[in-house]
Symmetry: C3
Subunit: 349 residues, 3 copies
Amino acid sequence: MQFSALQLATMLDGKLEGNPEVKVSNIAKIEEAGEGMLSFIANPKYEEFIYTTQASILIVNENLVIDRPVHPTLIRVKDAYSSFALLLEKYEQMAGNKSGIQQPSFVPKSVKLGENVFIGAFAYLGENVVLGNNVKIYPGVYLGDNVIVNNDATLYPGVKVYANCIVGNRVILHAGCVIGGDGFGFAPQPDGSYKKVPQIGNVVIHDDVEIGANTTIDRATMGSTVIRQGVKMDNLIQVAHNVDIGVNTVIAAQTGVSGSTKIGQNCIIGGQVGMVGHIHIADGTKINAQSGLSKSITSPNTSLTGSPAYDYKSSLKSQAIFRNLPDLEKRVKELEDMVKQLLSEREGV
Amino acid sequence: MQFSALQLATMLDGKLEGNPEVKVSNIAKIEEAGEGMLSFIANPKYEEFIYTTQASILIVNENLVIDRPVHPTLIRVKDAYSSFALLLEKYEQMAGNKSGIQQPSFVPKSVKLGENVFIGAFAYLGENVVLGNNVKIYPGVYLGDNVIVNNDATLYPGVKVYANCIVGNRVILHAGCVIGGDGFGFAPQPDGSYKKVPQIGNVVIHDDVEIGANTTIDRATMGSTVIRQGVKMDNLIQVAHNVDIGVNTVIAAQTGVSGSTKIGQNCIIGGQVGMVGHIHIADGTKINAQSGLSKSITSPNTSLTGSPAYDYKSSLKSQAIFRNLPDLEKRVKELEDMVKQLLSEREGV
Amino acid sequence: MQFSALQLATMLDGKLEGNPEVKVSNIAKIEEAGEGMLSFIANPKYEEFIYTTQASILIVNENLVIDRPVHPTLIRVKDAYSSFALLLEKYEQMAGNKSGIQQPSFVPKSVKLGENVFIGAFAYLGENVVLGNNVKIYPGVYLGDNVIVNNDATLYPGVKVYANCIVGNRVILHAGCVIGGDGFGFAPQPDGSYKKVPQIGNVVIHDDVEIGANTTIDRATMGSTVIRQGVKMDNLIQVAHNVDIGVNTVIAAQTGVSGSTKIGQNCIIGGQVGMVGHIHIADGTKINAQSGLSKSITSPNTSLTGSPAYDYKSSLKSQAIFRNLPDLEKRVKELEDMVKQLLSEREGV
């Protein structure tokens, strides 16, 4: 896609300075932008780049003062950052603007399709699947029987959704994530083997959730594993059966949540965190990367770290002393020597 | 699927109380069951729900005493829990009762198919693949050349099995797991680069194993990576080349096992555990979540925690003191002051 | 594939001892090799096996002395290990020698194909994809619009590469890995929700890189996430947006690297390591498994362990004392008692 400075200035309602015919086909940070690229300057500390950049078009604030000739065509707008973000969004929308049903794909007659859906080649829809309007099903996606995908959701290549799961409006599922695999439930038998406990629940993903690549969310034993509105989950996360994750909670990559644990809303959870099953995490809890939670967190808005995790500030102090444990042990040894000396002197008296 | 109370009572050889025509199409826990749902009461502490539940049908023990009218139709059986579990299994079997070969799929002439196999659309079978009876290959599964899948195994969507691997009877492989990728073996070269060591072994998965979504099990350099009978592995686990996992061992999500490590039988291994390569873990070892094992465990039936991991009880004590390290350091400081005082007084004498 | 002793001896320019007609169809370690298998002895400590092995053909050093009859046909060569490694490579090449375009696959007219490419069934190529010579695209691979895959690269089944990413020469991507998923970037809103920050960059994978199964590498917000020449990454690794990994760095399974972190060259990073974002790791850094890095490492060639990670040797000492913390606390308690005693005696004086 190519755009001229004139086109962009018109889109942004901006004022042109320079050649209106110059064209860009790519976007970059000001430090990295070259010929044929669009960039922006919003932060004063980047203004020095304006005289050296080889970018073809720059979006700048309307009051930016320049005192020498510059290479790029300028587009002056009220708020350069917002205008640039707006262009990013439009650029992304155009890039992802797929529609139609590619062949071969597998779409049984019992499937209900909304308007303007995209179904990529090699996508598989089970019986009675329902797709809302503007849903994008990328190539190689698998939807089991009775899966419902609501309006404006995007399922990237190779996403697998097992039977009976529900995906909310505007949800984004990244490539390779698995929604609704069997929960890990086995009953120990007298001979040391394990018998599978049937997992007949589902996963319900509410609106505006985004889930990262190769993340796995297991179906409930009975009932639902629930991911609530606005939750954002990164790549390679494990969510076990019957977990419930609260509104607007954010979870970084490679974290694991064990069965039936309930996480509150507006929590911020770092990467590689582990949580045991059947605990409750209060609203607004912040958990540092690599922490391990073995108990419920009952007070909202606390910060935790460590494995097992506890109060962030205390934990940092313990960690600092841990680093000096050899020194602490040496001090204890010296004390022992001195005290022994004092005691022996007393004996001697 | 809909069932009447009469149908269910007949299936379970139970005694009906209430309307035999009432129908259910779903199953739920007693706390959550509503109209059109089936539930059960086996545990006395849930008996209070019998007067408030809106479930349409309840399975209860034959000796359950009720003293007021109830909403659901009751089915009285000898053991309510067992009867309910039996229904769950039947429900699951019906839901998963796929057969036939969907098109398009890729099945070369050299492939040997057992009776009653299911091959989903977009599944790919390499040359000389052998499928046993009742094998279910879901859509988008990849089986490399010479792969053998034995009777009654189920491979969920997007499972990838590299060439020459063997999958046992009744094995379940969940969506996206990768069996037989190259082991991670590289020979360092004088110039700092690495040369790939060819990985020509395979993976052998014995009977009754279940492997979770997006888990990865690498092929052996030579010989086999072996997952023995009855092993249950959760999602996102990493198993490196030449590992051997013993009968009926259970491993929770996101654990990693490095190359050539041998795990005994009947071990229980928590989530996010890491093990270095070339160690042996004795039978019956229990390893707590997030532990790190850097040495062999030679005594069977021990419990471990921590990274590096050691005896569970001692480790808990150390962790408790760790939390109070700032306090311990303060006590040492106070001792130092007091002893210094004593010493100076002695000098003064 | 079957080979006679004569064929192998000719290939390796070796000297035959025994039946030149005996055939092998498999390769194994000397301890495990049986009838119909090829093995080798290079290390003197394995020489005892020569009299007991049931292998059909053995490659041995030309100067190996034997004083009794042996079962296998021998092929004597200058360097048995090198000759065997050569055979392994040839064996692997033959096994992976796929070519042609299988149907059905999805290859738009705008795609440019090099010579001798393999495209498996159910592979999907977006608009303007470019494949170099000898590229192997296994079944079920997804390549987004404008993806470039250079010469001799191999993409195993189910690999997903999002639009605009670049894959270097001789790169190997294992099954299920996801290249170019959206970076995890969200702007917090006043109401507690998060707004997605468009991720319009890409991933650039340089030559000779190998990436493990189900590993995920996110695209940059703007610019590129970069994996440099010769990097080897194991399974289930997470690489966030705008990360840069230096030449010949090796990373073990399940490690996670947060956004914008820059790792130097020739680093060796263990499994399950975590790194926060926006730090720099100096060249030649060695990081132990399960470590957590929260700060930049500025001195090259250091070794680190722990979470938070620091100097390897000091950390081991602290860990050793950690195990004895209950003992250390007891010693402090005893000191307190003794000092209290001494103080009270002084008072008494």
